[in-house]
């Protein structure tokens, strides 16, 4: 309880401790705290930015997907149209070919018929002449009656 040199000793001790604390204790601790505060703030900011980036990327992705879908449906449409057109073309071509064949066949038939008729016509004259010869025997003169016979052949 007496007032004595302890007082001086305590002042010295205090001075030493304040010096020590100010030089070796306070700076590293506050530096660590400040540095960590900065790291955390940076981290939060980076996370913020990342989430914004993600949002943007998602937006872009949906946009690309939408465009791709549109493109795909366009391609499918074009393909469908083209297929229909091909089928139509093929149909037309087939129809035309059929028509052509039909015409050719008709023409052939006609030609055949004409040919047969021609043959018949050429034989009718001789047949009629032979028949008439039989009927009339000598009275018929081939050259005299040729015009009449030809007329008959034409009418056949």
């Amino acid at each position: 309880m007496n007032f004595n040199l302890t007082f001086i000793g305590q002042i010295l001790a205090f001075a030493i401790f304040v010096w020590f604390c100010g030089k070796f204790v306070w700076p590293p601790l506050t530096k660590a705290i400040d540095a960590r505060r900065k790291i955390i703030a940076d981290g939060l900011m980076a996370a913020d930015r990342a989430s914004k980036d993600l949002e943007l990327a998602q937006e872009r992705a949906t946009k690309i997907i939408r465009e791709a879908k549109q493109e795909a449906s366009g391609i499918v449409d074009a393909a469908n149209r083209r297929a229909a057109k091909l089928v139509d073309d093929a149909k037309d071509k087939g129809r035309a070919e059929a028509e052509r064949i039909k015409i050719a066949a008709k023409a052939e038939i006609e030609q055949e018929m004409e040919h047969a008729r021609e043959q018949l016509r050429s034989q009718v004259a001789s047949l009629a002449l032979a028949g008439a010869t039989k009927v009339l025997e000598a009275s018929v003169d081939e050259s005299a009656h040729k015009a009449m016979l030809d007329k008959l052949a034409v009418n056949l």
Partner: protein, 294 residues
């Protein structure tokens, strides 16, 4: 029970309030054992009257050892924490240390609006050191002194350094030195003018002003030191009274245990609060030294 060895509770308490004193015992002093000191010599005081006879030329070995030891210990702990501080993954120990550092830093910033560079470390030192010294009051009063007396013959020992006015006033005086130092550093000759011309701004009243201002200046550390000392000393006396109750009779033991528990729990608050008050007032005084109060 240590108290059982004393004639009465008063003796017990008086004995426990004497520091372990090493000092210069002047020749002709009446010794405790009835003799008279033949030569002036440095020695440990054997009893309270010898310690009193030593006057100023003595040191309280226990106070200084505990105060310096605890201060060095706590600062070393903080130093280690600062040295091994990890930025990404602070452990619990580091987090606890940083909580205290942040707390002190924020308190300093709240009180002192300016660069806290020099004040904050002082505040931290004050807070943790005073807290550690106060904390020794929660150690049962006889736990350390009694074995020391029994086995090492150390008759007196107080482990709670802040119950010694030398310690608290020493700290307060250093705060005063810092206040004066900062004032001169910040204001230069303006500080002398501030002391001379406030509160009465005339040439005639300079001496009156000086007296008033110096009284005001000295009142701060004295109140600072005595507040801490008073609180801690009173608490210590209560602890000693309760401890004396243990020794009075076995019947009082449950009562004494309960009282001791209640008082100790209450003191957890008191010691922290007193350390905090000491720190805040230190910051306030140093902040006043920085800016112009008038």
């Amino acid at each position: 029970m240590a108290a059982g060895e004393y004639e009465n509770a008063g003796d017990y308490i008086a004995h426990h309030l004497v520091n372990l004193t090493y000092g210069r015992l002047p020749a002709g002093t009446e010794l405790c054992n009835g003799g008279v000191a033949e030569t002036t010599q440095w020695q440990l005081a054997g009893c309270a009257s010898e310690a009193a006879a030593m006057g100023f030329m003595a040191v309280h070995v226990d106070s200084l050892l505990w105060s310096f030891g605890l201060g060095a210990l706590i600062l070393f702990i903080f130093y280690r924490a600062g040295k091994k501080a990890s930025l990404e993954a602070p452990g619990r120990f580091q987090a606890a240390i940083e909580i205290i550092v942040e707390f002190v830093g924020n308190t300093t910033k709240d009180v002192f609006h300016g660069r806290t560079g020099a004040i904050a470390p002082i505040a931290l030192t004050v807070f943790i050191w005073v807290f550690m010294m106060n904390l020794m009051k929660l150690v049962p009063v006889d736990l350390i002194p009694y074995p020391l007396e029994k086995f090492f013959g150390v008759e007196y020992h107080k482990i709670a350094a802040t119950t010694d006015p030398n310690i608290t006033l020493g700290m307060a005086t250093f705060v005063l030195m810092l206040v004066i130092g900062f004032s001169i550093k910040m204001k230069g000759w303006g500080y002398l003018r501030e002391l001379s011309f406030t509160p009465f701004n005339t040439w005639f009243l300079v001496p009156v002003n000086l007296v008033l201002e110096i009284v005001g200046l000295l009142a701060k550390p004295i109140s600072l030191g005595l507040r801490l000392f008073g609180n801690m000393f009173a608490g210590e006396v209560i602890f000693l009274l309760i401890a004396a109750l243990f020794g009075a009779s076995i019947l009082f033991m449950p009562l004494a245990t309960g009282l001791n528990l209640i008082w100790a729990i209450f003191h957890i608050l008191v010691i922290t609060l007193q350390a905090f008050i000491f720190m805040v007032l230190t910051i306030v005084y140093l902040a006043l030294a920085h800016d112009d109060p008038h």
